[in-house]
């Protein structure tokens, strides 16, 4: 597995790609907070937010539908919110019968359900865009600059660095399990659920020990290369004037979005 197997970064030379990673993190977070602040049924503001997303997509040269295509990921969670369709008092829109209950969809419930889905869908698209236009190590540095404690950013940096190594390890374990689980056609291989759980548990234990011992080797190798307890970067980020302008513009747009949503 390649070291960037998990990275969602799409290399382009665009205005958004060249922005300081701090700007992108801050704008993403402000955008998501703004979505949470918009009242239910603020359709114009939702539309405006989507236009802003579209603009960001276009400016990053990923094609206007880039984040749209990848935003399906948030949908499965929607069923959690489905109860608001029936639980909020309001004018009944339609009633249907399921098993032994009658369900009545109210207009207020529908309004809230759709608003929750739109908020979630807008927010997840911005998050998708953030990792598509920022290399993950740059993202970690941005968090460091934004005062996220160094111990956390360092753990995250290590997690990212070794995730693909340990994933390879997991794939080896899974492959080994599959190859020893041969069975004649038509008959089941292996034991019951408990036995299977034991195999999986032992694999997790095995993985733990391999990771533990690997971290020892990593530490020694780092020590040999001059590790002094924290990581540092060879290309420190610097906020330029266009970064400040871009932040100011984005914040102004989001503020306008709030005004549209309120009045």
């Amino acid at each position: 597995m390649h070291f960037d197997a998990f990275d969602r970064y799409h290399d382009h030379d665009s205005f958004i790609h060249r922005l300081d990673p701090r700007v992108k993190v801050v704008v993403t977070v402000v955008f998501i907070v703004s979505n949470a602040l918009l009242p239910d049924g603020a359709w114009f503001a939702f539309g405006f937010a989507w236009l802003f997303l579209l603009l960001c997509n276009l400016l990053s040269k990923l094609g206007y539908a880039y984040t749209l295509k990848r935003s399906i990921i948030a949908l499965p969670f929607a069923f959690i919110a489905i109860t608001v369709l029936f639980s909020i008092p309001g004018n009944p829109l339609s009633t249907f019968h399921f098993l032994m209950w009658d369900f009545t969809i109210t207009d207020a419930g529908l309004l809230r359900f759709v608003s929750i889905l739109i908020r979630s869908w807008l927010s997840v698209q911005m998050a998708i865009l953030l990792v598509a236009v920022t290399r993950f190590p740059d993202l970690i540095h941005a968090f460091e600059h934004l005062r996220v404690p160094a111990i956390l950013t360092t753990i995250i940096a290590f997690l990212y660095r070794y995730l693909f190594v340990l994933t390879d390890e997991v794939f080896r374990l899974l492959r080994a399990r599959e190859s020893r689980s041969a069975a004649a056609a038509g008959s089941r291989s292996g034991g019951g659920v408990l036995w299977r759980a034991k195999v999986a548990g032992n694999m997790a234990g095995q993985l733990f020990l391999r990771s533990y011992e690997r971290s020892d080797r990593i530490y020694n190798a780092m020590l040999a290369r001059g590790y002094i307890g924290h990581l540092y970067t060879l290309n420190p980020h610097e906020m330029k004037s266009k970064d400040y302008y871009a932040t100011a513009f984005a914040i102004a747009v989001i503020f306008l979005m709030q005004l549209i949503g309120r009045f």
Binding site: W121, L159, A197, A200, S215
Partner: protein
């Protein structure tokens, strides 16, 4: 990819601003304590260790075992992480895992990340470590049994907290979301418990020094036992109560002003019901919950014993 999202990773948009912020504050305070504790007690050697352990938890979540009908059991890892690394380090490791899942995979949102870390990282670590340590240096079977109960309860606690947050945000109806989430996670928790027990059994057999006296995992104080026990008790009592009598819980929350503060959304709060708060049904289901926990504990104890006999 073998990466399978669970219904515990809340995406952005499903919690309102108020609930998200309160969760962030609780999470930030706890993490602050964790960071200052680990900075004091850990040497520079531990930093790469924790980083690799975070990658381990992430990768271990990909290990699954088929259960039935196409479903499979897999690991969340909060209890396991805190048992082998100690509670504070376990919390930091879980935080890193949840942060990367949200950032890279959009599995869980950013504004609601505080809630996700609280549910899946902090509470699971506290319960896992507290219950595991509460049996002290008992026999291997007892320790594994405690770890199994802790792992199961940690998943239940995460599910309960997630449901409560969704309800306080006005996203789900309490009477539906609690039984649904707890029901599903009672099963998911069994998978978690089994993998945790067998993984720990494997570690105890091959590298007992990692979990024995003087190891990182044995250093933390007694406070954890009380904290873990207290949270477990709350889960054991609140879940059956909330599933049996959501209206009662709703009333209490409303009386205390939680509901009004939580649901800032401009819609009418469900009108009062005049149900007695602690009815007969609620009490009996609490008992049922306690009995359930004991049964799960016994099953896991027996499994542990069987495993020991074979090895």
């Amino acid at each position: 990819m073998f990466y399978s999202p669970t219904p515990l990773h809340i995406p952005d948009g499903f919690l309102n601003l108020m609930v998200s912020l309160v969760c962030w504050v609780i999470t930030a305070l706890t993490l602050g304590a964790a960071i200052s504790r680990t900075n004091k007690s850990l040497g520079e050697r531990q930093i790469p260790l924790m980083g690799v352990m975070a990658a381990f938890i992430f990768a271990a979540q990909m290990i699954n075992f088929p259960v039935a009908g196409g479903t499979s059991g897999h690991l969340l890892g909060g209890a396991l992480a805190s048992i082998v690394l100690g509670p504070w380090a376990g919390m930091l490791v879980m935080t890193a895992v949840i942060a990367v899942q949200a950032l890279l995979f959009q599995d869980g949102g950013l504004l609601v990340m505080g809630a996700n870390i609280l549910n899946m990282g902090l509470v699971t670590a506290a319960i896992g470590y507290g219950l595991y340590r509460s049996v002290g240096n008992g026999s291997k079977t007892v320790r594994l049994g405690a770890a199994g109960v802790a792992a199961w309860l940690s998943v239940m606690a995460a599910a309960l907290l997630t449901s409560l947050q969704l309800w306080l945000s006005g996203t789900s109806q309490l009477g539906i979301v609690i039984p649904a989430m707890l029901g599903v996670h009672a099963l998911i928790g069994l998978g978690e418990a089994l993998i945790t027990v067998f993984a720990l059994g494997f570690i105890l057999q091959t590298r007992p020094d990692l979990l024995g006296e003087g190891s990182e995992s044995a250093k933390a104080g007694r406070g954890w036992i009380y904290a873990g026990g207290l949270i477990s008790l709350v889960v054991v009592f609140l879940s059956p109560l909330a599933s049996a009598d959501p209206d009662g819980l709703e009333r209490v929350a409303e009386d205390l002003g939680f509901l009004g503060a939580g649901q800032s959304a401009p819609y009418q709060i469900i009108p009062d019901y005049t149900l007695p708060f602690l009815g007969e049904t609620a009490f009996s289901t609490i008992l049922a919950g306690v009995v359930g926990v004991i049964i799960v504990g016994l099953v896991i104890l027996l499994v542990g014993r069987g495993m020991k006999a074979k090895s």
